[in-house]
């Protein structure tokens, strides 16, 4: 079964550093998403992406965040200057169509720890 691949699985970074989280969505999917889950809290939407532009972003997705699909296969989330409160599990997801008739496929996540 096709998978969404995320790398790295775990990243530790110092506060103020930039991090890039990488995702390879399923090849025939057109819609891409980033979510995060702070330990013990619910999964929160960050941003959605379609046709090489952001469709929607949440209040969490401020100027320190950016997304890119640089080469037609990778989908990256960049956090420019990390804060302690950015520590969370970050999930990438993709869907074949905008309403996700076949569901959203999630990656295994990247655990980001900011120290």
């Amino acid at each position: 079964e096709p998978e969404v691949t995320q790398t790295p699985s775990h990243q530790v970074t110092q506060m103020g550093q930039e991090v890039i989280l990488r995702c390879v969505p399923i090849s025939n999917h057109l819609y891409f998403y980033w979510y995060r889950q702070i330990l013990g809290q619910k999964v929160e939407f960050l941003v959605s992406f379609y046709n090489n532009e952001i469709s929607e972003k949440s209040e969490i997705f401020d100027d320190q965040f950016s997304v890119e699909r640089p080469d037609g296969s990778n989908f990256t989330l960049k956090i420019r200057s990390t804060k302690l409160e950015d520590s969370a599990m970050y999930f990438c997801a993709s869907s074949q169509d905008r309403a996700a008739l076949y569901g959203y496929t999630f990656g295994s996540g990247t655990r980001l720890t900011v120290v």
């Binding site: 619910k42 999964v43 929160e44």
Partner: protein, 116 residues
């Protein structure tokens, strides 16, 4: 804005017990509803989804859910749970206008522990 509420934060059952996890959503228009499961250390997996038609939907691993529009509910059920059902369960809804991607809005999740 859409929101999803899951009433049970942690449910503990014995094997073979019946399961019902509550989910209510808040949205005035047409919604699509999902249940996802997250086994320990694994990614979110789709259990089942509802878009239209028969409000009783069957998913994988013997799970089913019933959409009751008048109650804005989409409860998850399983007649007889197994130890391997121990996991976190998330109810989610998507909706939205426009041409772009439709985001998923998640409930808080319910941790299910099955004792052998």
């Amino acid at each position: 804005a859409q929101s999803v509420s899951q009433h049970n934060h942690h449910v503990i059952l014995s094997e073979a017990a019946s399961l019902e996890l509550g989910c209510n959503y808040s949205y005035g228009g047409t919604v699509n509803l999902f249940w996802y499961v997250q086994y320990p250390g694994q990614h979110l997996q789709l259990l089942l989804k509802y878009f239209s038609g028969d409000p009783l939907v069957k998913g994988i691993k013997g799970f089913e859910a019933e959409f009751i529009k008048s109650k804005f509910s989409f409860n998850l059920r399983k007649p007889s749970v197994q130890w391997s059902d121990t996991a976190e369960y998330f109810c989610a809804v998507n909706a939205g206008a426009g041409q772009g991607a439709q985001k998923l809005v998640f409930g808080q999740g319910t941790r299910l522990t099955i004792n052998p």
